[in-house]
């Protein structure tokens, strides 16, 4: 069977090749030669089908990957180096395949890593220029990411999905969501120090701020800040943020165990009180009100988030709240992922900075976890009611993964000690905490 098909294909080509050779004026199927052909219109040359194939070969990806050209520019008009045209793109395609593997086989935040990875795959296709102003990814990027609109819509949907009940049941655990933000600010100092005193990194203070927000463990916040403060680092920051959020079950447990004794991990917390629905209704208004009074720069993020939450808790606009939680957030997630992926183009991602971002992001994450746990230990010392220090780790946000990890680690020390709901308090307050931290960074650097 196979042989006969090959024979058929050859026959087909040979047949037409013969006829095509006979024709007088052949076409060249590429931009460049099409232009050339117009200027030489008068000339008559005898180009065989094989020459046609040869000129077609120059339009293939194989040619582009193997034969870098001078003067190739990306969607933003910046020149792309030989390395980034060849091995760079190939490495990036390998990285996107790795992201797919992690998302599908390991369950790493697939809702964002699959669109981001696919966007990155498309962004590294030679000649297709999909990140350009008229390309598939470029249109998306300009429509909703360049203006920081999509992250806000995502945040609105997240707000509509968040239940603040556990935090309201025990408000003081919300402070743990503050302590964990030390991951952001501590890393900011560390990154500045390493940039200033070592040759390892060379980030500006603004870059440091955009990178350290990874410690907030909050995807849309990271994208929002990166777009505002360091758009060129967006791809690496987004990938780092979502990857580490996905790696919560790997990164956090050793830190949590190192900082706590077995007795502390076995602490049983008091059952939570019931929360009145009016408390839930007023909560978004209180949070927004505080951010208006203290930090107006944080209100785009907190405003979108509390709008979603208020719509949900109002109970009278369920069709809007359902749409925010489903159709709208899904559509925006698809587009946001593809658009962010456009920053995984080799010439943007395969730069020295990326490794620094990945390292600093990991540090930020770990420091935030540690700060949350230590703060919880401190609070346990001074509190009338027992506080299990593990729940401090949930303060980084990464809702609800971090709370689940807390629960799991707690159960390992004392089976049956269900910490999930107690950890959800710091977990959701961590979202507010990192939005406030983002507001501080915007107010300083923007």
């Amino acid at each position: 069977m196979k042989k006969s098909i090959i024979a058929g294909l050859l026959l087909f080509f040979a047949l037409f090749a013969g006829q095509a050779t006979a024709s007088e004026h052949a076409a060249a199927p590429s931009h460049v030669s099409a232009t050339a052909q117009h200027t030489e219109e008068a000339e008559v040359h005898d180009k065989s089908i094989w020459e046609l194939l040869k000129s077609f070969y120059k339009t293939t990806g194989i040619y582009a990957f193997t034969t870098p050209q001078d003067g190739v520019v990306n969607g933003e008009g910046e020149e792309v180096s030989s390395f980034h045209q060849t091995w760079g793109r190939i490495i990036m395609i390998g990285i996107t395949l790795l992201l797919f593997y992690l998302a599908i086989a390991k369950g790493f935040e697939p809702l964002l890593l699959i669109p981001i990875g696919f966007g990155g795959l498309l962004a590294n296709i030679p000649m297709a220029n999909m990140t350009g102003d008229h390309g598939f990814l470029g249109v998306i990027y300009n429509a909703g990411i360049a203006n920081e609109f999509f992250p806000l819509l995502i945040f609105m949907g997240v707000g509509a999905m968040t239940d603040f009940g556990p935090m309201l049941a025990n408000p003081k655990t919300a402070l743990l969501g503050g302590a964990a933000q030390f991951g952001i600010f501590g890393t900011l100092v560390g990154a500045a120090a390493l940039s200033q005193f070592t040759p390892l990194f060379d980030f500006s203070l603004q870059d440091c701020a955009a990178i350290s927000i990874i410690g907030g463990a909050d995807g849309p916040t990271s994208i929002f800040i990166a777009t505002k403060l360091a758009p060129d680092l967006l791809g690496a920051i987004a990938v780092a943020a979502y990857s580490y959020m996905a790696l919560v079950p790997v990164i956090q447990p050793p830190i949590m165990k190192a900082l706590t004794s077995k007795e502390e991990r076995m602490i049983v917390m008091k059952q939570q009180r019931k929360v009145h629905k009016l408390e839930k209704l007023f909560l978004p208004l209180i949070v927004l009100g505080l951010s208006i009074l203290l930090l107006p720069e944080s209100t785009p993020l907190i405003g979108a988030f509390t709008f979603g939450n208020f719509a949900k808790e109002s109970g009278v606009v369920d069709r809007l709240s359902d749409t925010m939680q489903n159709a709208l957030i899904n559509i925006v997630t698809i587009l946001l992922g593809l658009g962010v992926g456009s920053k995984l183009a080799a010439e943007k991602f395969l730069v020295g900075d990326t490794l620094g971002i990945l390292i600093l992001g990991l540090v930020a994450f770990a420091v935030g976890t540690a700060a949350g746990v230590l703060m919880a230990k401190l609070m346990n010392k001074f509190s009338d009611e027992p506080i299990n220090p593990l729940i401090g780790a949930a303060g980084v946000s990464a809702v609800p993964m971090a709370a689940r990890v807390v629960n799991k680690v707690g159960m390992e020390s004392k089976p049956g000690n269900i910490l999930l709901m107690h950890a959800m308090g710091p977990n959701v307050s961590g979202v507010i905490g990192s939005a406030v931290a983002a507001g501080v960074l915007i107010s300083i650097f923007n």
């Binding site: 239940d163 556990p166 003081k172 933000q181 701020a209 009145h276 930090l295 905490g433």
Partner: protein
């Protein structure tokens, strides 16, 4: 360039201070609110958690139950 560390350190102090101040005031307000609401609206306590999608589930369950009833009536 030389002052990056110093600057970032100040930002850290400022940032952590604001984050804690924000959350601390929030905690105070929420605790006060809880007391007020418990005093003036003692009825209708809600479950502490899981209120996210019960509206939908209730509707679904209602629809299903209705459908079952309908089905049973048809079946008769």
């Amino acid at each position: 360039m030389e002052n990056m560390v110093a600057e970032s350190f100040k930002y850290m102090v400022l940032g952590m201070g604001i984050v804690f101040t924000f959350l601390y005031i929030m905690v105070i307000v929420l605790q006060y609110q809880a007391k007020l609401i418990a005093k003036y609206f003692p009825e209708e306590p809600d479950q502490p958690s899981g209120g996210a999608s019960t509206g939908l589930d209730k509707k679904k369950v209602a629809a299903v139950i209705a459908a079952i009833q309908h089905h049973k009536n048809i079946g008769k």
